[in-house]
Point group: C2
Chain length 401, copies 2
C-alpha cells in the first residue's frame, strides 16, 4: 500500500475498449489499497489531427495558440477515462495541467516543468479519489497553457512521482519493457529486468523510443525508480534505476538510428578556427551535430565529416555552402543512406575489449565501418543503412548468445 503513479500513452486510450482496459489496471491498483495518480496522453492520433487542423488554417501558428489547441487532446482523454472509471463505481476526478499544479517555464511548445505544486492532487487523494491527470501540459507564470513537447507525458508522470515521493512510477506502453535490441529486428532480443538511467538515456537517444529522454533525466535527477511495462500483458517490465557496480553489465543493449545523414566538407584550410566556425554556424541554426571525424589531408587541407538528423540535412547543406563558398576546391558531400549502430553499457568503463568485440562482429558480417565514435558507456559506428539489420543481429549475437 502506498502512492502509485501510472502513466498511459495515447495508444493505450485510443478507443473505448482500451480506455476500459486502462480503467481496469487503475482500479485494480486502487482496490489493493493504494493511492493512485494516473497520467494520460491524448488519444491515438488526436495531437497529429489537431496539428493538421491548425496547419490548414496557418502554417505559422504561434506556439502559444498551438499549446491552447493541443492541450485539448488530454482534456478529452482524462475526462473519458474518468467517465469510464465512474461507470465501474470508483471515486475519480480528472485534473488538467494547471489544476494539477504543473508550473512550467515560459517557453510554449517545449516547456520545462519548474515545480509541481501537488496540493490539489493531495486533496483529491485525501478524499479517496483516483486522480487522473492530463500529461504533457502545464501553466506558466503568465497563466497561459504550455505543453512539454512530444513524449511530455512521461515527464509529467516522473515529475509527480518525484514531487510526491511516490512508492512506484509505472509507465505503461505497448511493449513489455526495455529489450537488449529491437525485438522486431533481432529475434533473440531479451527483456532487461533493470537498466541504469545513463544506459536508458543513451538508448532513448539512439531510437529505442520506450521512454522520453527528459523523463529519464528527471528520474535520474530525483532518483525516481521508473518501471516500463505493458498495458496489455500483466507481466513485470523493466525497472529504470541507478545500478550498483555489481549489477552493471558490459553491454545492456544494441540500438540503431536510421534518421541520420552524413555530411563531409572537403579541403578545409588547415588554420585554427575554421572547423569551429563551421560548427558554430550550424549550432546558431539549431542544427545538432553528432559523430565527428576529421582527417588530415595533403597540402595542409582537412576533410571533416559529421552526422546530422535527416530533417536538418537540407538546412545544414545550405548553411555550409554559403560559408565555404569562397574556399578553393572545397566541396560539400552528403549521404542519407547511413545508419548509426551503437552498443550501450555502464559496465563498459571497467572492461576492456568491448569495442573490438563489436568491430569483430561487424567484420565477420562483412560490414564496412565508415566512422566510429565512443563515450564512457557507448560505442557507435556509422554504416551503410542497408546493413543495419544485419549489424544489429551480428552484434547482438556476439554479446548475448
Amino acid at each position: 500500500m502506498g502512492l502509485i503513479v501510472q502513466k498511459f500513452g495515447g495508444t493505450s486510450v485510443s478507443d473505448d475498449q482500451r480506455i476500459f482496459n486502462v480503467a481496469k489496471i487503475v482500479t485494480k491498483a486502487y482496490s489493493q489499497g493504494n493511492d493512485v495518480v494516473v497520467v494520460v496522453s491524448a488519444q491515438g492520433s488526436t495531437t497529429d489531427d489537431l496539428i493538421a487542423k491548425a496547419r490548414g488554417i496557418n502554417m505559422h501558428a504561434s506556439k502559444r495558440e498551438m499549446d491552447v489547441l493541443l492541450s485539448s487532446g488530454e482534456q478529452i482523454s482524462v475526462s473519458l477515462l474518468a467517465i469510464a472509471i465512474e461507470s465501474m463505481k470508483f471515486p475519480v476526478v480528472s485534473l488538467l495541467g494547471w489544476q494539477a499544479g504543473f508550473h512550467t517555464c515560459l517557453t510554449y511548445g517545449s516547456a520545462k516543468i519548474e515545480k509541481v505544486d501537488s496540493h490539489r492532487i493531495k486533496k483529491e487523494l485525501d478524499k479517496k479519489n483516483i486522480v487522473i491527470v492530463a500529461g504533457f501540459q502545464g501553466i506558466n507564470e503568465c497563466s497561459d497553457i504550455t505543453t512539454m513537447g512530444r513524449g511530455g507525458s512521461d515527464t509529467s508522470a516522473v515529475a509527480i512521482a518525484a514531487a510526491m515521493n511516490a512508492d512506484a512510477c509505472r509507465i505503461y506502453t505497448d511493449v513489455e519493457g526495455v529489450y537488449t535490441a529491437d525485438p522486431k529486428i533481432v529475434k533473440n532480443a531479451k527483456k532487461l529486468n533493470i537498466i541504469d538511467y545513463d544506459e536508458m538515456l543513451e538508448l532513448s537517444t539512439l531510437g529505442a523510443q520506450v521512454l522520453n529522454n527528459r523523463s529519464v533525466e528527471m528520474a535520474k535527477k530525483y532518483n525516481v525508480e521508473v518501471e516500463v511495462l505493458s498495458s496489455m500483458e500483466d507481466v513485470p517490465g523493466t525497472v529504470v534505476k541507478e545500478m550498483k557496480n555489481v549489477e552493471k553489465r558490459a553491454i545492456s543493449g544494441v540500438a540503431a538510428d536510421n534518421n541520420i545523414a552524413r555530411i563531409t566538407v572537403t579541403n578545409i584550410p588547415d588554420k585554427p578556427g575554421f572547423a569551429f566556425k563551421l560548427f558554430s554556424k550550424l549550432s546558431a541554426n539549431n542544427i545538432m551535430v553528432d559523430v565527428i571525424l576529421q582527417s588530415h589531408g595533403k597540402n595542409n587541407l582537412n576533410d571533416i565529416s559529421f552526422t546530422v538528423t535527416n530533417d536538418c540535412l537540407g538546412d545544414a547543406v545550405n548553411i555550409l555552402k554559403k560559408y565555404t563558398g569562397n574556399w578553393e576546391n572545397s566541396e560539400i558531400l552528403y549521404d542519407e543512406n547511413v545508419s548509426k549502430v551503437s552498443i550501450v553499457g555502464t559496465g563498459m568503463e571497467t572492461q576492456v575489449g568491448i569495442a573490438s568485440k563489436m568491430f569483430e562482429a561487424l567484420y565477420e558480417a562483412q560490414i564496412n565501418i565508415q566512422m566510429i565514435s565512443t563515450s564512457e558507456i557507448k560505442v557507435s559506428v556509422l554504416i551503410d543503412s542497408s546493413d543495419t539489420n544485419l549489424a544489429l543481429n551480428s552484434i547482438h549475437d556476439k554479446f548475448f548468445r
Copy 2:
C-alpha cells in the same frame, strides 16, 4: 471607437472558410480603432459529438467530468480562430473561461456566472491584442471547470459586455435579426430594428431561438444593448434594449411552440388544496407547467388542463397517475398534437382589442382555440398542431399587413 464585444456561434466557426469569415469581421472592427473581445462557441457539432463519445462509455457520466470534456470544444475553436487571425498579421490572444475570469456557481452542467473578473482581458487589450474568449465555460470555487448549458456563449458575451461596460455587444447568428415571425413559415415576416428585453424574453421562450434566455435576462438586468445580426450579410440587425413608451408597438411578433403537450385531469374533488398539491408534485420533479385552465363541472368536481414540454409528458403522466389513483372517476388525458401560438408586444398593455383581433384572425381561418392564456405583454392560444402554420400566417397578416 470603443470596446466592442462580438459573439459567434458554432455554425459561424464550423469550418476553415467560416473561421476566416469571422476573422474578417473581427479584424475589421479592430482596424476601425476599437478594442475587440470575441466570444466563440464550439465548432459545429463538436459538443454533440463529445456527448455521444461520453455516452458510448457511460450513460451516467458525472456532470463534472462532462464539463471537463465539453469545454475542450471551445478550447479548439478559440485557438483556431486566433491562429486564423495571426495569419492576417493582427495581434491576438485566446483565453479559456478560467483565464478570462468567468467565476460561476458550483453547479456543473448549467452553471450561472457569479462574477466576471476582467483583469486579464483588460491586460491583453492594453497590449493592443484582439482577445478571443471561450464562451459557455467558467471556473467555480473548487477551481473546477463548469459549463453554462446550451446557448451559454450568449450569456458569456453579455456578461463581459456588462462587466467591462462595453460600447457594443453584437451577437452574430445565421439570421439577420429578430423577425415579426419565423421567415421560414411566414413569407411576409419583417425584420425588427429594435425589440424590448421583455418581448425578446417572451419570444425566446416561445421558440424564436435567436438569443438564449439567460443572456436576455442578464442584458436586461445590466441594461446592456445587444445587437443580433448576421455573420454572413453585412447589414444592420435587431437591437435588443429597453424601449421607451413612444417606441412601443402593440405587437412585435408572432411565435409558435410545438414542443408542448396538453394534459387534462378530470373530476378533481372541489376542495381547497387539491389542485395546489397536484402542481406541487410536478414542480418537485422539476416539471414546468405552462398555460393552465380550470373548469367547474357538475357535482362539485373540476377538470383542470395545462401544458408541459413534450419531453416531460411521460414523467408528468406517471406522477399524476400515482397521485390521483384513489380519486373516483378521475382520469388523466393528454394530447401531444398541440401547439402554442402567441403574440407579444410591450405596447399591448395600453391598447385595447389586441386579443380579440388575434381571435378574429383565428376565427377567419377556421382554427379552433383549445385554451387561452394572457399576460401583460403576451396572448397565447393552444391550438391543434396541424393548424400552426396557418395560424401564424393569419395572425401575422392581421397585425402586420
